[in-house]
């Protein structure tokens, strides 16, 4: 059995596989609109491996993640919409 986790739960150095998107889990509905599309457009995609490379200096936010060949910066608030599977059962 695997536990459902979100990208925002990961710490620096941790890796995971993207399972899908859950923009509806955002509190702000207007904010969540388009969020999935935006994440897809910048390069997040099911099945891809993500790794947290860096964390912002205050409250460990935002985060910089490696995805494919690139590094993407996002806030944990946005990362909360990315469902991941980090291999632990």
């Amino acid at each position: 059995m695997m536990t459902i986790k979100y990208l925002s739960d990961l710490k620096k150095g941790e890796e995971a596989t993207i399972l899908g998107f859950d923009a509806e889990s955002c509190k702000d509905i207007d904010f969540a609109r388009d969020l999935e599309d935006r994440l897809l457009e910048i390069g997040f995609e099911e099945g891809l491996n993500v790794k947290i490379l860096h964390e912002g200096p205050i409250s460990r936010d935002p985060i910089a993640v490696r995805i494919g060949q690139m590094t993407v910066a996002l806030r944990r608030m946005e990362a909360a919409a990315v469902r991941i599977y980090n291999g632990k059962s």
């Binding site: 897809l40 457009e41 935002p62 060949q69 690139m70 590094t71 946005e78």
Partner: protein, 624 residues
């Protein structure tokens, strides 16, 4: 009737399209060189870059560099303008004949999605796989032929920063332009997910080797984004930038000042003492000179900003500062423009172009003039020197004058943050915008492109100095010169002029702030630039001598005739008052809105009045 086939279609227009960080603007710079123009699309603040390019077979075409976009969904102004131009529905830009789509070879999967989306819009496309050298270095191998077959469009590889690498592209451009395919009808675009799936399938077939992430970038980021060292380096960079802005700019600024002074002397020697000489010397040269003297600082700041941008560090700076800026509802991208505004608000406001979201950008522009710019320093220095004793405080660690100066900076910053917060809750209210951005690979800046972009920015500033600031200088001169002093008048000339009349009328409004009529009059020519008020005060008090002597006499006059509450109220006024035509003109251009320009001017004057009033009354109460 045409005798050559290429005469059939004149004025061919090719649009460059691509995602942010694909090197599109580099490619545009290399292709067009200095033959380019930058303007805004009418009614919006989206930059329109266009240029000329001559093909190998001597056909000159127009290239336009559309903004960097991830898709054409109308979410941002950039996306909307791009979609309108590409589909031929834009009000002023005609539909291009060909799209030159630029993709980052090191990130094919993501960039292919945009290519697929563009294909649905019916225009012929050439795909340039850019950053080919970087892809090779990272062991990423793409087969352009497979890609071309899969996409059904010509595919070439390019290294935008190297002219020699563009032969394939140039040949392909000539070939395609000589036999331009017909436009197709636009067909509905599938969902992002479907496009993504197709892009992934095609990338999988065309990618011969996946490669690895850019090594230098990975290693540099380990230091530059380090929670401790990253911040230290960031602040050292900023500190160094400011040191150099002041240190390097000092000599050329001095030179410009002396140059204008020499010019004024020359004119005084040649022309008889009449209205025309006064217009040239006291109006045009003094007015335009007071703005142009900031040119060295502006050039150095722009150079820094452009280097930070082109190397990829700007995105890291935004990353480091994002959390802090988020506290007042802004994003990390607002930080550098605001920092720049400490030297001069003009480059700061122009640098807000990197802020993608319109509302965030407006908010940043609105608060930029609150950062203490270098034109305020002469005013602060004069008043602090006159009214604040330089006694050591806190066990002799600090001087009182320095602490007061620091306090003035701090009040500006805190006010800016409060204004930003209030704006985000009221006028620029809206859905929170995601902070989602690619951290681009580090790259060395290309000197030639740097110079082209720098010249572009400097030109904009000079054009403004040559037009609106020139008119303002002439207008202010007229106000200060006419009508002339009546025979037997005892006050200085300016007292009887329109500026004097206005200043004396304003004095009724300024009386609660403790301002005397001399100060009120000086504020009118002081609209040209903040430090001009010092010279104007000299004129009002009829002081003689060179600049240094005038300042010395002014200090004495301030000490003997201004009360402390008055002097402090004047300082408080200068924290807020938008006494700078060049800034107001820049805001007008960058926001493309008279409404926002009027709002900014109005709210800053209102704050200045309020602050000066409170300071004056408080000081009176405390000293009583």
């Amino acid at each position: 009737m045409s005798n050559k086939p290429q005469d059939v279609k004149q004025n061919i227009k090719v649009a460059l399209v691509g995602s942010p960080n694909c090197g599109k603007s580099s490619l545009f710079n290399t292709l067009t060189g200095s033959r380019q123009k930058v303007a805004n699309y009418p009614g919006v603040t989206v930059e329109r870059r266009s240029g000329k390019y001559t093909t190998a077979d001597n056909r000159t075409i127009t290239l336009i560099d559309l903004p960097g976009i991830y898709s054409l969904k109308d979410r941002t102004l950039d996306e909307r303008v791009s979609r309108q131009v590409i589909t031929g529905t834009h009000v002023s830009e005609s539909q291009p004949d060909l799209l030159l789509c630029v993709a980052d070879s090191t990130n094919l999967r993501v960039h292919l999605r945009l290519v697929l989306e563009l294909k649905h819009l019916g225009l012929p496309i050439i795909l340039a796989l850019n950053m080919h050298d970087m892809a090779q270095r990272d062991d990423i191998r793409i087969d352009p032929e497979i890609l071309s077959k899969e996409l059904g469009i010509p595919v070439v590889t390019t290294i935008a920063v190297r002219r020699a690498s563009l032969d394939d592209l140039k040949n392909q451009l000539s070939k395609t332009l000589n036999d331009l395919p017909e436009k197709q009808e636009a067909v509905p675009v599938p969902t992002t997910r479907e496009l993504q799936q197709q892009a992934r399938d095609i990338a999988a077939r065309a990618l011969l080797s996946e490669g690895s992430q850019h090594k230098v970038t990975r290693q540099l980021d380990r230091v530059l984004l380090h929670p401790v060292f990253g911040i230290i380096i960031f602040f050292i960079t900023l500190f160094g930038m400011f040191q150099l802005v002041y240190f390097w700019a000092a000599a050329p600024m001095d030179l410009i000042e002396r140059g204008f002074a020499t010019l004024q002397d020359l004119i005084s020697n040649i022309l008889p003492d009449n209205w025309f000489r006064s217009l040239l010397n006291n109006g045009i040269i003094a007015g335009v000179g007071s703005v142009l003297v900031f040119l060295p600082q502006i050039i150095i700041l722009f150079t820094f900003i452009l280097i930070l941008e082109s190397t990829g560090y700007m995105a890291r700076a935004a990353f480091i500062m994002d959390r802090l800026m988020a506290m007042v509802g802004l994003n990390g991208r607002a930080f550098i423009p605001l920092m720049s505004s400490f030297a001069c608000a003009i480059p700061g406001i122009m640098a807000t172009r990197t802020i993608e979201h319109h509302r965030d950008r407006i908010t940043t522009i609105m608060i930029a003039p609150l950062m203490t710019c270098s034109a305020r320093i002469p005013v602060y220095a004069l008043l602090i020197g006159a009214v604040v004793p330089n006694q050591p405080i806190i066990f002799g660690l600090f001087g009182l004058q320095g602490v007061v100066l620091f306090g003035l900076y701090l009040v500006g910053i805190v006010s800016a943050l409060i204004v930003a917060m209030v704006l985000k809750m009221t006028l620029t209210k809206g859905v929170a915008q995601p902070f989602l951005m690619e951290l681009p690979k580090y790259q060395l800046p290309v000197f030639r492109h740097l110079m082209i972009n720098l010249w572009e920015r400097v030109k904009t500033f000079l054009r403004r100095a040559g037009t609106i600031i020139l008119y303002a200088a002439i207008g202010l001169w007229l106000l200060a010169q006419y009508p002339k002093k009546p025979i037997g008048g005892l006050e200085p000339d300016i007292f009887y002029s329109y500026a004097g009349i206005m200043g004396r009328a304003l004095q009724h409004i300024f009386a609660p702030l403790g301002f005397n009529w001399e100060m009120s009059i000086a504020l009118i020519p002081g609209m040209a630039a903040r430090e001009v008020a010092i010279g104007a005060l000299g004129t009002v008090y009829a002081l003689q001598g060179n600049e240094g002597q005038v300042e010395q006499s002014l200090r004495t006059i301030i000490q003997s005739t201004w009360s402390l509450p008055t002097a402090f109220a004047f300082l408080a006024w200068y924290i807020f008052a938008p006494q700078c035509f060049a800034t107001i003109a820049t805001v007008r251009r960058e926001t493309n809105s008279w409404g926002w320009t009027a709002f900014m001017t109005g709210y800053l004057f209102a704050l200045a009045y309020f602050a000066a009033f409170v300071v004056n009354k408080t000081a009176i109460a405390l000293l009583a």
